[in-house]
Amino acid sequence: TVGCVVVDKLGHCVAATSTGGRTNKMVGRIGDTPLIGAGNYSNQLCAVSATGIGEAIIRGMAGHTVGALMEFKGMSLAAAVNEVVENRVERGTTGLIAVSSSGEFAMAFNTTGMYRAAADEDGHYEVAIWH
């Protein structure tokens, strides 16, 4: 799975996600990333894209839960992403990337690694695989 989340200078958030699925998946299986609210979600506060085992990400309604924790509990982006990755999905199943409308970003995973990269207007630039 690949994905990208972006917030532009106007504070508009967008999430995009694309996948080939999972090796040896059953023909006709749907459900890694294209379920809006699960592996891909965005609202006025944030944008989220997930990777990993789609079924776990759907059960945890991962993307929407990040947005809901921010909207209804007032959590920061980083806290909301960590809450979902650590407590709302099964261990070893999920990686999340996210941005907020104010320009923060977060990357978290409960697998051994996640191919990822990030940059922001303040000059942060990062490419990483493991913790």
Binding site: D8, L10, V14, R22, N24, V27, S42, T111
Partner: protein, 188 residues
């Protein structure tokens, strides 16, 4: 004016730390290339929507990653791709599943969002919509790689071995080899 930021991922799972240095560098170069595309576009005042699509298209075009070219295979050795995109300001979104020929599924997902009254198209309907919109398509061979073929063979041989072992242990008549093959997760 606010601050821009961009994050991308190329998959998660069990990624061995003993990965050969040249492979690690190849992946990191590819991730940096895609990130640079997005950063340049954001500095040029492109919209978040355009940048997200641009970057995911670049990731789809790279056979290192499991999307578009380089997609993994189903139990039948076929390709079935999925993609989705969502605009946080408007809550507009689009998604596609079961694509077999579309070179950049993310762009078709955006077309579903912008050109239809719907959110989600799948399988034959999604393919027909792709033809109607004239998006680039390719034969199956374009999407398959030696790596994806080897991965499928490895998983299926493991499935057979796991199933046989379970049957030998007399676990009962309800042994479902597909479930056994499901574990452990080795990532994307």
């Amino acid at each position: 004016m606010g601050k821009w930021a961009i994050v991308l991922h190329g998959g998660a799972g069990v990624i061995s730390k003993s990965m050969p240095p040249e492979k690690k560098e190849e992946v990191e170069r590819a991730l940096a290339h895609c990130l640079d595309l997005g950063v340049t576009a954001l500095k040029g005042s492109s919209s978040a929507m355009d940048v997200a699509e641009l970057v995911v298209r670049a990731l789809e075009d790279n056979p290192l990653f499991n999307a578009g070219r380089g997609s993994v295979l189903t139990t039948h050795g076929t390709i079935e791709m999925e993609a989705s995109i969502m605009n946080g300001c408007t809550k507009q979104c689009g998604a596609v599943s079961g694509l077999t020929t579309v070179v950049n599924p993310i762009s078709l997902a955006r077309l579903v969002m912008e050109k239809t009254p719907h959110i989600y198209l799948a399988f034959a309907g999604a393919e027909a919509f792709a033809r109607q919109q004239g998006v680039p398509t390719a034969e199956t061979e374009y999407f398959m790689t030696d790596k994806s073929i080897d991965q499928l063979k490895a998983v299926q041989s493991k499935e057979e071995a796991s199933c046989m072992a379970a049957l030998k242990q007399e676990t009962g008549p309800d042994v479902f080899c597909g479930e056994l093959a499901d574990k452990p997760f080795s990532g994307e």
